[in-house]
């Protein structure tokens, strides 16, 4: 079963610091831009919702056609956003938690400026492996 999924990490200052297409379907050029646009539009909803609850995993917060946006907000207000078409809530939650751990390890690097792009290829490989495992 082919799934579309677009994963973006947005920093506290609303700057995307990492993006990846993690679905199993083939990547199409126009689809990628559309996904990013939808995720960007969902940022407003996240901002309001983040202050109403202390839980990190906010489930599906926005829809577009048949695609759903799920969001996970960390303590430092870094948002992990996933645009997907499946309904696998538990899998998505585990995916976010594992990526959160990876993100903390990147953040602990004293030479990493918080809010700057994550360029590590190892991080990219691991995120895709986690996506294949849970999504």
């Amino acid at each position: 079963m082919t799934t579309t999924a677009c994963f973006i990490i947005v920093s506290r200052n609303d700057i995307p610091i990492y993006e990846a297409e993690v679905g199993s379907s083939a990547k199409r050029e126009d689809a990628a831009q559309l996904h990013q646009f939808v995720l960007h539009a969902a940022l407003d909803v996240v901002q309001d919702l983040a202050w109403t609850t202390s839980v990190m995993f906010l489930k599906a917060i926005d829809r577009f056609n048949d695609l759903v946006v799920s969001v996970y907000v960390t303590a430092g207000h870094t948002r992990f956003m996933l645009l997907h078409d499946s309904r696998n809530d538990d899998g998505i939650k585990s995916f976010f938690q594992e990526v959160h751990e990876l993100y903390i390890k990147i953040l602990l690097n004293p030479l990493y400026l918080p809010g700057s792009r994550i360029t590590s290829s190892h991080f990219d490989t691991k995120v895709r492996a986690i996506a294949r495992k849970y999504l």
Partner: protein, 194 residues
């Protein structure tokens, strides 16, 4: 061959698991490192305000990371959304992890609505430091003030944080107070959330 044990060799830091945080660092090693940090910055600046700002910036980087790490490790992935929540998080959890004990007291300022104070009888970073008379009101606690500012800022509560000496009668060394003054938007949001 001796030495080739069963310890897994991790090639990348991303593969290593996050530490549990039970590690301890020797106080003298930290005091030595901190004194070198202050001395290094002293050679780079020509006035006190700049020196305080540099120590604060160093602390800010620590604070941003400490917040994420502690929320993940000690608080089971729950964020703080209320003012009192984040203040008591700083006062107990952060202090306990950084200095081994909770802060001495957390008070609300009487003159202004947006001021809070965390007091400590003897701040760990100031323990082995004495300030010469000609440096006036300089306080190395600016490093800790920077840590607190880093935690608050990353959690979405922008504030101006400074460290002050408060002389106490009956004690030789003055008490250190970290003064936190929140930005206007924080109070507005608090009022809105009710």
């Amino acid at each position: 061959m001796i030495g080739v044990g069963k310890i897994k060799q991790y090639s990348n830091v991303l593969d290593k698991p996050l530490s549990k945080g039970k590690q301890e660092v020797s106080l003298s090693a930290f005091a030595f490192l901190f004194s070198e940090l202050v001395q290094y910055n002293q050679t780079q600046v020509d006035n006190i305000a700049e020196l305080e700002r540099r120590l604060e910036d160093a602390g800010y980087a620590v604070g941003a990371r400490v917040l994420e790490l502690l929320c993940h490790r000690d608080k089971g992935n729950r964020r703080e959304t209320r003012l009192l929540g984040i203040l008591s998080f700083v006062h107990s959890t952060v202090w306990k992890v950084l200095f081994g004990k909770v802060a001495d007291s957390l008070e609300k300022g009487t003159e202004h609505e947006d001021e809070y104070m965390i007091s400590e009888k003897e701040l760990l970073v100031n323990k082995f430091i004495s300030i010469p008379k000609d440096m006036g009101t300089f306080n190395c606690g600016a490093f800790v003030a920077g840590i607190v500012r880093g935690v608050l800022d990353s959690a979405g509560f922008p504030a101006v944080v400074t460290a002050h000496f408060v002389p106490m009668e009956g004690q030789q060394r003055p008490r250190t107070t970290i003064l936190i003054k929140f930005a206007e938007e924080v109070l507005q949001r608090e009022a809105r959330l009710g």
